[in-house]
Symmetry: C2
Subunit: 341 residues, 2 copies
């Protein structure tokens, strides 16, 4: 679990992870709903070949094909943000290529023919963009010429199934831990910053979800009319402004009552490292406080391990037959992973 | 703090402490409201002399006189159950003789001329009765004959200020920790047992208070018509019946869900040993759970220390200028005294 994220970035007191996703389609194969079953199979073979047959990549990536049957494994991958909800729920023949460290994944036959993403811990937009575009080039160059290459329009850019992705096909998304902003009810500030920079704000579990554990995802809405690095730069500015705000609020909160602040983070660490039964929601809230304690230097702890726990405590990651047995497994995992004295 | 109680009894999983109190008055001095100021001074001198001038006792007891001014020290003694609320609140010239271990105390000029009590940890009714009556004899024999000895009527027994104490002048009171009975809302059971045995049930802080920390005091209502050992025996039967009930309910509770039971006691110990700010009410409830955990063998811990903490965390014991500073002092004390790993 410790090297869940391969790339590691900056500002880990506030930034949990950075993700860059690229959407690609092949010109010679119908898009989306019009994709026939034999096209789906062909796509999997063609898009995976450049990786599977590459001596360097083949060792680092695992290819898995999925059919109609629902799979607990897929739910786990969704919770780790390695594949999308839509990919897991789709009934189509589809496949995922996932690097051993979970840092890079390629979905074949999601909404688009190919969706590839790079994910890292902390703020590392440039690194993720570089990793994603490198792999993208490898795939593009390896796909059979008879399929006509990537669907690309000289005026619009990459063509995608949904018009909101046309252009760069890129979505950069940064996951932020904003407990002090959340505590002061600063949804307004978030939406102000989001709309100023043309960004979308979502909760931990994605679109339309609440900010469990005070975690927010911020991503670019616009994919068209700017190049990749311009879009990335704009997002980075917004993130930096949120980081400054959050740091200032945490400082204010601490200075208003150091003891109350310390009390909260110590209690959270104590409960996390001692409970025998714990729900996802409670654990997320306690992990938020614990993370704040570690970020502020009050508690000792490892950020990568805490970040990995945010995913590891989710129901599908834990397995188990019932909510009660998962609550017990979650508590056991937390006791093992969190060292609080 | 460790040897707060001198005598140590049985059934410490449920019984916190046992107390025996005797009320005595001198025949030659007016009772209660009719007591003049010079009588009060004389009483203090006469009733303390047999102890103060006794070479053995004088080393073990401290005599302190109190006047009109309110005193934080007195509030602390009330919270430790070493003097009564009435004694602390009274404006009269009065005194207390307290043994160094807190096991025996004598109030002079409380409601009655003399009230002496012996207190021990666990269930130790006979031992406390023996300690109290021994000291009682020492005082009785040492008081100047010109004061006419103890006010005693051959038909009624010892005469006291309030008719509810006439007879033996004795009140035996046992403090019980009944979390499982309290959780199952068994007030009815308590009152049934109390009325069957002619007993009174009260909360931790005395008459008319709620059962903070799941702690109940049970004591004899009747003082007349039976001798001391009969009254003590009847109380002991009631206590034993409550002990059996509480043990059965704890077992049921544990067996219904061992993990939920363990979760509760571990969380309590974790919060007690990590909080930086904690209120009296929260601490009492957590100490109740912690005590249950130690009693059941799930947690390691020292019962005498836990019992002492029930008093030590009270506001007057802690001192401090404000509720906030007391919450911090309380948390510090608990972190120091509770070793939870």
């Amino acid at each position: 679990m410790s090297d869940f994220f391969k790339m590691s970035g900056s500002d880990t007191d506030i930034v949990i992870s950075t993700r860059v996703r690229l959407a690609r389609n092949l010109a010679g194969i119908p898009f989306g709903n019009r994709l026939a079953s034999e096209d789906a199979e062909r796509l999997i073979a063609e898009a995976s070949r450049p990786i599977v047959e590459n001596p360097v990549f083949s060792e680092r990536f695992t290819l898995k094909k999925y059919g109609k049957e629902p799979s607990g494994e897929l739910r786990g991958l969704v919770e780790k943000h390695l594949v999308s909800k839509e990919f897991a729920a789709s009934g189509l023949t589809r496949a995922a290529l996932i690097s051993e460290d979970g840092g890079i994944s390629v979905m074949i036959n999601e909404e688009d023919h190919i969706r590839l993403q790079a994910i890292g811990s902390g703020l590392c937009i440039e690194e993720c963009l570089e990793a994603a575009t490198s792999l993208d080039r490898v795939i593009e160059q390896g796909i059979g010429k008879e399929l006509g290459g990537y669907a690309f329009d000289s005026r619009l850019g990459y063509l995608t199934c949904c018009p909101t992705n046309i252009g760069t096909g890129m979505r950069v998304s940064v996951m932020l831990h904003l407990p002090a902003l959340a505590a002061s009810g600063s949804d307004r500030l978030l939406s102000r910053i989001a709309s100023r920079f043309g960004l979308a704000v979502r909760g931990f579990y994605g679109e339309g979800t609440a900010a469990t554990g005070d975690i927010f995802q911020i991503s670019n809405r616009v994919t068209l009319g700017y190049d990749e690095s311009e879009l990335a730069q704009r997002l980075k500015e917004a993130v930096n402004s949120l980081i400054r705000e959050e740091r200032a609020r945490r400082k204010e909160e601490y200075e208003a009552s150091p003891l109350a602040f310390e009390d909260r983070v110590h209690r959270s660490a104590a409960v996390l490292s001692s409970a025998r039964l714990i729900s996802t929601d409670e654990a997320m809230q306690l992990l938020s406080d614990y993370r704040t304690g570690v970020a502020s230097g009050i508690l000792k702890g490892d950020m990568d391990r805490i970040n990995a726990l945010l995913w590891a405590i989710q129901p599908a990651s834990l397995g188990g037959n019932s909510a009660a047995s998962r609550d017990a497994n979650r508590a056991e995992l937390l006791r093992r992973e969190i060292n609080y004295e």
